[in-house]
């Protein structure tokens, strides 16, 4: 079974795949216990104001209705903002469900009906009479740009830095430049829409103890949140999320169904499940609408001399949600004169929330479409323009890259895509009555690493158990972590079990930002390494050990044996060690990013996206007929799951450029298409030939695995590549997403 090849780098299928496709995998809303109660949330139907009265009498009188919780009868809870905070909380004052009669946004949860069945709870909810006093509100970013102001810094800006300071004299350099390109870009609100509905099942265990099945991207994040707000010992709060049906950022913060489920379970001392309906998934967190302006200037050789990128984004009235929109262009293009600005407009909406490649997928559209425009102004091929301005170091902060094989992405991507077949003239290529366009764009996403812990145990039977509290949001975390652990101890996959998604396991941060492999993978590797060391020591401690006098560097771990490299006859088996040890052997280890070393480098994954579109000349209908993304993301642990990540990102790129939008009625201050029939994400008929290349990239700095993470990079380059291809096909540059086909009539 065991080959000599390491498991890292093998395209291993998801270990839990069969459970998911057969419906056997259980999600947070599927844990049934006797006596389970069902909560149904009532949401505000006004956008701003106060609840003047809330009458629950009729609802409460219905047989089978247990309680209706509102701001009037909720239990007394934690006082301070900080206690409502979480690992992804922006600076400000976190929203508190059922806190007061104040309404801050449309869809705000204002009551929880708890009943013996879901259907009864839902019906009872329609019997609750609520009267409001309405106040004027603003939800339209475009109408309120005069209110733009700088964001307040906070803990969140550690991972999401505010724009770098201006360099040189942008205005002068831009005015003096040989070629200029500029644009205004608008992106509307988008919602994450994971397939799994948000749900929490809280099981009241007695004596202040809770077991909570939660849809989340961070079990410990939910555990700390619940402990802080409800004044429980952390050890008494166990949060489990074994399977997560998609997150995309929506589970990075504890959502209100968790709060309401726990509150009801504690008050009623019974198990309570709260599942949100699809339309309620539009009442927390979204990608914020953003207006961007760019001005790029270049000399006659195509060298970019001046970069200006400004963004104005929406936030809520209670938190300053920020994302990195404008920091990227100078990381990619080493201009001497830069001006990057990022401002917020607080509106009467819920706080925005990280959504796949937050900021990056927004900013890249403006940057890469402006680059495309500049290429036309200069009459230089778009790839050539990027090579002329290739940043060997990150000039935005003056640091080298830990590794950067973007050039290879351009070369290999262009070759496989057939970029050389492109006639640079817009509207010059066609098939029948379809205009054909080729477009490309660069993608970039920062590679971060956070601290994490992991445990590794060699059981009496010689099996390896590793664990971490991290979730698997469908990305392949279980499989990848199993591969890493197996390689560290030289065991076949079948002998390794990775346990995860449980807050009682060793600490892991929230799962997002493409940092799970580098963060948790490093912790697993460290725990494995520690176990390796321990086993080797025990092997040497055996009486007359064949490995006496050997160093750890001089042995290999293979198939349950520790073998001398110099003389393979000299070996000690795990069984020999375990026989003497009388029990399992266990290590727990913490992996901390090597902050001092890492600080000297900029660390990022890169990509080059290539797209072919067909645009119906008369009808405007756009089809993305071919797309290819070449990715440089360091060591790829599992090419199969990584490819799925990139493909998923590319599909989302098609969605962002051409399909999805949360339609807002600003007069009502609410979202109008809160369902999957009217919120358009791509269907199979929208997807055609798609391909992924991973270029080889060695990175000895970033972490011991040399891996950068691939969760976001797949989406970053696609939307501008599509917009650029549409320009090439039609000669029309549409800077508002999604590009409706009727804008091409």
């Amino acid at each position: 079974m065991m080959s000599d090849q390491p498991l890292i780098g093998q395209p291993i299928s998801r270990l839990e795949g069969h459970l998911k496709v057969t419906g056997t995998a259980k999600y947070a809303g599927e844990y049934n216990v006797p006596g389970l109660l069902y909560g149904y949330v009532i949401n505000s139907t006004i956008t701003k104001g106060k609840i003047s009265s809330i009458n629950t009498k009729i609802a409460k009188a219905l047989p089978g209705v247990i309680e209706v919780f509102t701001h009037e009868n909720r239990p007394s809870l934690a006082w301070f903002d900080m206690q409502y905070s979480d690992m992804d909380a922006p600076p400000g004052s976190p929203f508190r469900p059922l806190h007061t009669a104040d309404i801050k946004y449309n869809g705000q949860p204002i009551a929880l009906v708890v009943a013996e069945t879901f259907e009864l709870a839902r019906y009872a909810a329609s019997c609750v009479e609520i009267k409001y006093t309405e106040e004027p509100f603003s939800t339209d970013l475009k109408e309120n740009i005069d209110k733009a102001r700088a964001p307040q810094p906070g803990l969140a800006t550690f991972l999401k830095p505010l724009p770098p300071k201006p360099k040189g004299d942008f205005e002068k350099a831009y005015n003096d430049s040989f070629a200029k390109a500029s644009g205004e870009f608008y992106h509307g609100t988008e919602h994450h829409n994971p397939l799994e509905l948000f749900s929490t099942t809280t099981i009241y265990e007695g004596q202040g103890k809770l077991t909570i099945y939660d849809k989340t991207q961070g079990t410990i994040n939910s555990q700390l949140y619940v402990g802080n707000i409800f004044g429980l010992h952390f050890k008494d709060v166990r949060v489990i999320a074994p399977y997560v049906g998609g997150g995309f950022g929506s589970g990075l913060r504890p959502q209100y169904q968790l709060f309401l489920s726990v509150m009801a379970a504690l008050e009623l001392k019974r198990p309570v499940r709260v599942t949100l309906e699809r339309n309620q998934m539009y009442t927390f967190g979204h990608r914020p609408p953003t207006i961007q302006n760019t001005r790029f200037g270049a000399d006659a050789n195509g060298k970019i001399t001046a970069l200006n990128h400004s963004a104005i984004a929406e936030t809520s009235q209670f938190e300053d949600y920020t994302e990195v929109v404008v920091n990227w262009s100078n990381m990619l293009y080493p201009a001497e004169n830069t001006l990057m600005e990022y401002k917020l407009v607080p509106l009467d909406v819920y706080s925005p929330l990280d959504m796949r490649a937050p900021g990056g997928s927004t900013g890249s559209h403006a940057i890469e479409s402006t680059m495309d425009e500049l290429a036309y102004k200069l009459n230089i091929d778009p790839i050539e323009l990027r090579l002329i301005n290739y940043a060997e170091t990150d000039t935005s902060v003056g640091r080298p890259y830990s590794s950067k094989e973007l050039r290879q992405c351009f070369i290999q991507g262009a070759e496989k895509f057939g970029w050389s077949n492109r006639n640079p003239e817009p509207r010059s290529m066609r098939r029948g009555n379809k205009l054909v366009g080729y477009g490309m764009a660069t993608g970039i996403w920062e590679s971060m690493q956070l601290p994490a812990r992991a445990e590794a145990i060699l059981t009496k039977e010689g099996k390896l158990l590793v664990s971490s509290a991290v979730t698997d949001i469908g990305t392949g975390t279980l499989t990848v972590m199993t591969q890493i652990a197996a390689d560290e101890l030289g065991l076949p996959l079948a002998d390794v079990t990775f346990s995860y998604g449980d807050s009682k396991m060793p600490f892991a941060p929230i799962q997002g930002g493409s940092f799970t492999v580098s963060t948790v993978g490093s912790a697993i590797k460290a725990a494995g390494k520690a176990l390796r060391k321990k086993l080797f020591k025990k092997a040497k401690d055996i009486k007359n050990s064949p490995l006496k006098g050997t160093d750890l560097e001089d042995v290999v771990f293979k198939n349950g044996d520790i073998i001398s490299k110099n003389n393979p006859a000299l070996r000690v088996s795990f069984q020999d060690i375990l026989a003497l040890n009388k029990g399992a052997i266990k290590t727990t280890n913490t992996s901390l990013p090597k902050a001092f070393k890492l600080k000297k480098y900029s660390r990022a994954a890169h990509s080059a996206a290539f797209v072919e579109v067909e645009v119906d000349e008369q009808l405007g209908v756009v089809t993305v007929t071919r797309s290819l993304t070449a990715v440089a993301a360091g060591n790829i642990i599992n090419p199969k799951t990584a490819r799925s990540q990139i493909l998923g990102g590319m599909v989302w790129g098609i969605s962002k450029a051409l399909r999805e939008e949360t339609i807002t009625d600003y007069k009502l201050g609410k979202y109008m298409n809160q369902n999957l029939a009217e919120y358009h994400i791509p269907v199979h008929a929208d997807l055609h030939d798609m391909d992924v290349i991973f270029v080889e990239e060695k990175d000895e700095i970033i972490n011991e695995l040399g891996s950068k993470g691939v969760g976001e990079i797949g989406i970053v380059g696609m939307p501008p590549a599509i917009a650029n291809a549409i320009f090439h096909a039609t000669g029309k540059r549409i800077n508002q997403f999604p590009i409706h086909f009727d804008s091409l009539l």
Binding site: D616, L619, R659, D665, K667, L668, N675, D686, D742, L745
Partner: protein, 339 residues
């Protein structure tokens, strides 16, 4: 969703008497739209009368006028894939398959397809004014986000669009709707079945309370040689039409003898304009002639803030679909429109 009674009717007479026994009750067949409306609390019923088990309406058969009779309880999927429909009324097959999803078409019935409600965002949001849902409360769409709304036959009280694809083809085919009711049986020409909103937008059609659709007759003329259905929408499948066109042509030599052009996505009912079809008679099927017909059809269009594109889009769609009808073999399932 409120509690309601549920009964199964064994025959049409029983179904009608059950409906009349409880005021505020409704028939349910496939339920693909009605169940959503109940769950969203847009529609409240005191009783549902399940008509799925009524015998005699689950078949597609020849009628006495050399056409076909579609049982009201035949599913949309079974209709679309029925050999006689594919052979003699391919535009109907194509229109059905352009709508909804495979799963929904497997459940949805022919009778129910005629009775689906609009997909107007405001109709579906019970917390916004809507004259169709709550008469007299006002229309949120007229000054709201009206990209998907109507441009033909609108009124001050409603600009909603009827969403069916199947009905666009049925309109083009001059289908006849057979109805049973407390007063006996009657028939309505397809053009007379659906209503314009006027000042009664809560009435989608001319069915009286207690009446039930039993079958739909297709006349002999099926346009199986020259036909096309073109649907333009915000994604390639599972999205409602912004504009759709069903075209059937009967050619004699180089000349059009009969032209049928019905449009979806433009109005509160499938849209046909007799003058445009008359204009095309004895004309050659050219871009220029279809363009004139398109201009005639779109005369009197009234646009709103976000849907003015529909006028030009509809015109281009009419022209393209006319040309496509000359080459129906180019219309593979799911294919994008071609030359």
């Amino acid at each position: 969703m409120n509690n309601f009674n549920y009964t199964k009717a064994q025959n049409v007479e029983e179904a009608i008497s059950l409906i009349r026994a409880t005021e505020g009750s409704q028939f349910v067949a496939g339920g693909t739209n009605l169940i959503d409306l109940l769950k969203y609390n847009i529609t409240q019923v005191d009783a549902l009368v399940d008509v799925n088990h009524i015998a005699g309406y689950h078949t597609i058969e020849e009628n006495q006028e050399n056409g076909l009779r579609l049982g009201a309880l035949v599913t949309n999927a079974d209709t679309a894939y029925h050999p006689l429909i594919e052979e003699r009324y391919p535009v109907l097959s194509k229109a059905i398959l352009a709508g909804a999803s495979a799963q929904i078409r497997n459940m949805a019935t022919n009778g129910g397809n005629l009775l689906q409600r609009t997909r107007c965002y405001y109709f579906y949001d019970v917390h916004t004014p809507c004259n169709k849902r709550e008469p007299g409360s006002g229309c949120s769409a007229i000054k709201g986000y009206n990209r998907i709304m109507a441009i033909m036959g609108t009124s001050e009280s409603c600009i909603a669009v009827f969403p069916s694809d199947m009905c666009v083809a049925l309109a083009a085919l001059d289908a006849v709707v057979h109805i049973s009711g407390p007063e006996g049986e009657r028939s309505l020409a397809f053009a007379d079945f659906h209503r314009l909103p006027g000042d009664t937008p809560y009435l989608d059609n001319n069915l009286e309370y207690g009446e039930i659709i039993t079958s739909i007759d297709l006349p002999a003329k099926g346009f199986s040689t020259n036909y096309s259905y073109l649907k333009l929408r915000d994604r390639s499948s599972y999205a409602f039409a912004l504009v759709s066109v069903a075209t059937g042509l009967e050619l004699e030599g180089d000349l059009i003898k009969v032209a049928r052009i019905a449009l979806g996505g433009l109005a509160h009912k499938p849209w046909r304009v007799k003058e445009a079809e008359d204009f095309l008679r004895d004309k050659t099927p050219t871009v220029e002639n279809f363009a004139v017909a398109a201009d005639i059809i779109l005369q009197g269009a009234k646009v709103y803030q976000y849907n003015s594109f529909k006028v030009e889009l509809a015109k281009r769609a009419i022209i393209r679909n006319g040309i496509m009808a000359l080459h129906p073999e180019s219309q593979l399932p799911g294919a994008q429109p071609s030359a």
